[in-house]
Amino acid sequence: MMLRGIAKLLAFLVIGNVINQITGMPIAGSVIGLILLTVFLVFRNKPIHKNIFTTSKLLQNSLTTFLLPVGVGFVAYYEIIQDDIIGLLLLIFISAVITFFACLYTYSFCQKQFGRTDK
């Protein structure tokens, strides 16, 4: 059951990687796979099969764990950013605040503009 879901997702990942290598596109294979799978699902326009649905839920719930090995890499590469660590942290903080505000205001502005305040 679970294995079939993985096989289907993996098929799109492989296709994405192959396209990435053939065309030399600067977009990662996994992102190409994501776009292809969305397009495929939209064109097929049927309810999603249960096994792929369960598998994707399961994977997304464990996303935190999958991120750990690379997150730990910070320590291995700390020396590179050691000198500007304070500047970098400030930059990340400031741009996070700006982007968050921008998102909230733009979205509510657009909703008023396009007359969708009902929801």
Partner: protein
């Protein structure tokens, strides 16, 4: 064979660090759920901290650690592909709001690129660090993929994305309280676009609409950043 030998055998066995990573992650997720997902117990932050300290004191090479955890990287790529499913499930809501979503995404991307570009002009940041910085508002796996393609530092990409997510998780609720945004779609979308996976994992108590729009924001912003980054990079550098 004494105790010391046993520990050495265990640490050097093929999958010890994989077990350790998953175990620590489960432990902190359990703790976090136990205490209602409070910010101070953000499982990803503490897991990274504990594993890093263990690696440091155990004198383990990062390459050795990464080699054992390769299977998690495979699942990471698979998870990106799997984000097509929520995108497909929510397609009607997306089509209804497509103007607002598109404009917000573009504005958010400009807002996230500008401070970094200004910073790099003033301080002359190395491209190795700059690329992960530019992509920090896309979710970690996508940011890592961008860095991989543009030959930048991959672990830094993950770290910058996670840091951004943590900051949004902490200050986001405060900002929303101050400016009183009540619309659930709007709140969720803003969290997803700027705080991605880390923030979403903290939104469990906010209801279905908030979470599905957060997922949407995460996916679309990730795709847009992945598409825009190489272009922006060519123009400016």
């Amino acid at each position: 064979m004494n105790d010391f030998d046993l520990i050495t055998y265990m640490i050097n066995s093929e999958y010890f660090w994989l077990l350790y990573t998953i175990g620590i992650s489960c432990f902190f997720q359990f703790l976090s759920a136990r205490f209602d997902h409070k910010i101070l117990l953000s499982p990803i932050f503490w897991s990274i901290a504990v594993i890093s300290i263990s690696l440091y004191f155990g004198d383990v090479d990062y390459d050795v650690y990464l080699e054992q955890n390769k299977v998690l990287l495979f699942f990471l790529s698979l998870t990106i592909v799997s984000f097509a499913i929520p995108l497909y499930v929510n397609r009607h809501q997306i089509f209804e709001n497509w103007q607002a979503i598109l404009i917000t995404l573009l504005v958010a991307n400009i807002c996230s690129f500008l401070p970094t570009i200004v910073y790099s002009i003033f301080f002359g940041t190395d491209t190795n660090i700059l690329i992960p910085l530019l992509g920090k508002f896309s979710t970690s796996p996508i940011n890592m993929a961008i860095s991989e393609i543009l030959n930048a530092n991959i672990p830094l990409a993950a770290v910058f994305s996670i840091l951004t997510g943590l900051i949004i998780t902490i200050i986001g609720p405060l900002i929303i309280k101050i400016i009183k945004i009540t619309d659930e779609e709007n709140r969720g979308f803003a969290f997803g676009v700027s705080g991605h996976g880390v923030a979403i994992s903290q939104l469990v108590s906010h209801g279905e609409i908030v979470i599905s729009f957060a997922a949407l924001g995460l996916i679309l912003n990730g795709i847009l950043t992945a598409l825009m980054m190489p272009i922006i990079f060519k123009i400016f550098y």
